[in-house]
């Protein structure tokens, strides 16, 4: 089976850097480098970490209802994607990014994704989409067929995606791409870099300031090496990517968000735009808005176990009096906190911060309390 795994354009570089490779979402990916997960995590919070996220799905959605360029074309393509997501996309500013979710007919979350409106006039009418690796085939099939009368979906599987995250990221990227340091959180700018077209977004999945850089696949290794040439930058594997996002309280699709969840019980109701709450018009709108008004039966919460033992995904959550009230969806050790952290779903009456619960680990109750997220403060650059 090993030879059936897909590779990113950085596969040879990962191996040259001594990465331990594992299968992830059908790809041969680095889980860690010789530095190890713990130090990679801490390095990212202290300096800057380079992540290969080329396994994620990139695509351009282009309107066929209006001539490209100008607000009319943007409104057409935004109105089209708004039939599948609950976010405010029409009013997204030029060069703006939005975190959103792709919804099924029943209002369940099929994936979470980033939607970007181009910064240039001539490209209006196109949206740049970035979706999860494990779900990309289904996502693109759904978007392509649901919007077939309104837009075309061009899958950009010829592009790689690199993330540079951490307090030193802005300085490093700005030296390579002058001006990028001024970009604020959740904005995008296009760059020409040695004749390669880059889509540079100030966002990430660690809670730190940082960038995601979409680069043509054949130029990805050159870009990665240019970033790694800076002393502040170390390559970081999927292991630390997971502990970083967990401390930052960010959801991992397929674990913390799934088709049985909506944005309301998933505790990401902020993805429902104000106008969308009033107008609806997204899949499952009636159900989701009703749940929002009445309160969900369960809610995703942060959990801080007492002591040092981590509670992992699947651990049962019990109330102090022994009633089953939910389950852990992500859990592990938080290197920056120096303590275990977790998130999971609990019955709504137990969702208040500070509520004492028990996590069942190896058959024994492990005391924990419900806690606000993020566990480590977000340090995004807002200008």
């Amino acid at each position: 089976m090993a030879d059936a795994l897909k590779q990113t354009p950085l596969n040879a570089l990962h191996r040259a850097l001594g990465a331990k490779m594992v299968e992830f979402a059908g790809y041969d990916m680095p889980v860690q480098y010789p530095m190890g997960v713990l130090k990679e995590h801490l390095h990212t919070r202290e300096k800057a970490g380079l992540f290969d996220v080329s396994h994620m799905g990139q695509a351009f959605l282009k309107t066929t209802e209006a001539e490209p360029g100008g607000d009319g074309a943007h409104e057409a393509v935004a109105a089209a994607i708004e039939t599948l997501v609950p976010g405010e996309i029409v009013k997204l500013k030029m060069g703006g990014l939005r975190y959103s979710v792709l919804l099924g007919e029943d209002g369940g979350i099929l994936d979470d994704l980033m939607i970007t409106r181009p910064a240039k006039d001539g490209l209006q009418g196109t949206l740049f989409l970035v979706v999860n690796a494990a779900t990309k085939a289904d996502d693109f099939a759904l978007i392509g067929s649901a919007l077939a009368d309104r837009a075309t979906l061009e899958i950009a599987d010829d592009r790689a995606l690199l993330a540079l995250q951490g307090p030193a990221a802005a300085g490093v990227v700005d030296r390579l791409l002058p001006g990028a340091g001024e970009q604020t959180f959740m904005t995008m700018r296009p760059y020409e870099w040695n004749d390669a077209y880059l889509i540079v977004s100030r966002c990430g999945y660690t809670g730190e300031d940082g960038f995601e850089i979409s680069v043509p696949g054949e130029r990805a290794e050159e870009m990665a090496k240019a970033l790694l040439a800076d002393d502040a930058v170390e390559p970081i594997g999927l292991g630390a990517r997971d502990s970083l996002r967990l401390e930052a309280g960010l959801c991992l699709y397929g674990h913390d968000l799934a088709p049985e969840n909506t944005p309301v019980d998933g505790n990401i109701a902020f993805v429902i735009g104000k106008r969308r709450r009033e107008e609806g018009g997204f899949p499952g709108a009636e159900k989701i808005l009703k749940m929002r008004a009445e309160g969900p039966a369960q809610l995703r919460v942060g959990l801080l176990p007492e002591g040092r033992a981590p509670a992992r995904e699947g651990a049962e959550i019990q109330s102090a009096d022994g009633k089953t009230i939910g389950a852990v969806t992500s859990g592990g050790f938080g290197p920056t906190l120096g303590a275990p952290v977790a998130m999971g779903y609990v019955d709504a009456e137990y969702a208040a911060s500070g509520t004492v619960v028990n996590l069942i680990v190896r058959g024994k109750p492990l005391p924990a309390r419900v806690a606000d997220m993020p566990f480590t403060p977000h340090r995004y650059y807002r200008g």
């Binding site: 860690q32 997960v37 713990l38 292991g239 040092r308 033992a309 981590p310 992992r312 275990p340």
Partner: protein, 125 residues
Amino acid sequence: MTVRYTKDHEYVRAETEGGDVYIVGISKHAAEQLGDVVFVELPDAGKTFKKGDDMAVVESVKAASDVYAPISGEIVEANNAIVDEPAKVNEDAEGAAWFVKMKPSDPAELDAMMDEAAYAAFIAE
């Protein structure tokens, strides 16, 4: 001092030559495979185990693993230094970061275990 190993990557060595107390831990190879250890749970002194019982837990940033009793016997001491500082397991698994000291109830069990050369060949497979 002869060190013996199990297929589950525990090691056992006599605390003193000819003595009846044995030091038990996980091999250096196991510690490397686990990655950064962040949690260790050890049994209390006085507890008895049969060979193969779940005896301790070690968790790395990646996963939780059970540590099995490599021999039958009674725990005479647990190494609480590694409970307080789990990272020691990565630094010195077969030295200072031992898990427990045990008094075997059936010393003949030791004979069935691998010696250093056999274990080296086993992990190279």
